[in-house]
């Protein structure tokens, strides 16, 4: 008890300082700069984050994984970057893939819908579905990578950001352990699905 009392001010300080520390290190957000893509870790890290259609789909992957529970909670975030990289490679070398933007919008609709309707298909179907959509996301990013750049750091940032978005989805999806949280998670899936519909309407 005394130990807890001793730590209380420290905990309060940490609670205050952690968000401040995060806020203090923020930098200007330049969404998909028209002047070119920065080929460094930060450029790669921000690349998927500033594409809202990518963001909602990747968060949906995490949400669905958390909703399905183990082993989907880690298998889906493992499958996604692997297949996304294959799609990215196809985009980089110029392999054509029709309807990339439509595919991305449909991925948000489908994945969000899966969460909203609490769909629980077999694991392999979930993995195939996520993998199929990952190709579209990877292709879109790969096609935007500038030729001539040695993009190890860029790709590291890019993949880490993708993983962080999955993690955000998983963290929020963790609320589904509680009845009210379950409603919130399904609601978030519905919102993602509606946003995907809006993107689809924009492209059609």
């Amino acid at each position: 008890m005394r130990f807890r009392t001793t730590l209380a001010p420290l905990r309060a300080a940490m609670r205050l300082l952690s968000p401040l520390a995060l806020a203090a290190i923020t930098t200007p957000a330049f969404a998909h700069s028209e002047n070119g893509v920065a080929i460094d870790f930060w450029g790669g890290f921000t690349h998927p984050i500033f594409g809202p259609d990518h963001v909602i789909a990747m968060v949906a992957v995490g949400l669905w994984g958390a909703f399905l529970g183990a082993p989907a909670i880690w298998l889906l975030p493992v499958v996604f970057p692997l297949v996304m990289a294959v799609g990215g490679a196809a985009g980089v070398v110029g392999v054509p893939l029709p309807g990339v933007e439509t595919g991305i919008a449909v991925s948000a609709i489908m994945l969000g819908g899966m969460v909203a309707f609490a769909a629980r298909p077999p694991l392999w179907i979930a993995a195939v579905l996520v993998g199929a959509f990952a190709i579209f996301h990877g292709h879109a990013h790969g096609a935007e990578l500038p030729i001539g750049a040695d993009a190890v750091a860029f790709s590291m940032g890019f993949v880490v950001a993708t993983g962080m978005l999955h993690l955000a989805g998983i963290a929020f999806g963790g609320l589904s352990h509680w009845p009210a949280g379950r409603v919130a998670v399904r609601g978030a899936g519905g919102v993602i699905s509606l946003l995907g519909l809006a993107y689809l309407g924009k492209f059609l």
Binding site: D40, P81, A85, A89, V93, A151, V159
Partner: protein
Amino acid sequence: MNRFFCIALVICSFVSTTPALAHTPIMGIGGVFGGIIHALLIPEHGLTLLALGLVLGRRQQETRRSGLLVFAAALTCGLVAAALTGEETLAGDILLLVAGTLGLLIAADWAPPRLALALAALAGVTFALDSKPDGISTAESARMLIGSGLGAVIALAVVAEVSVFFRGYALFIAARVAGSWIAAIGIMVLSLRIATRMTLG
């Protein structure tokens, strides 16, 4: 609270990273220490060491130690070759291929001992061949190569021995996710390099 602080710390670490520019000379740092820095700060080198360390860390002690020895032996041979030759090689690309393969093995949680040892040998040779610094004297180059070798072996040993403790379920999953990330980075960068060669020659 602790968990929240840890998450905040991890995010801060990622956000506060600076560009990792391959083969960037660090002004004022040369010799053996410069070589160590050189070995560890090149992204594909760091990735390969991390991936190989994670693969070896999941093996039994005998295989793990054998892997470290094989890597050290191959690295030494590669460093001697790098010191004697000055030709451009595809070492960087092969190193990325090895890193990507190791990443796939981690993600699949499947790594037969012989395959792990073969990849350790390939990683050692290509790591060394890709470590030769450009535009400096022979003596300075030799010192930096020795530093690169030392840095690589120490870093690999640390990662492999630390990852032995990745036995819990959460850490096991974290390692598999990290493996998928490493494989994804390897695939994307290799494809970009191939596309660059096809486009620019």
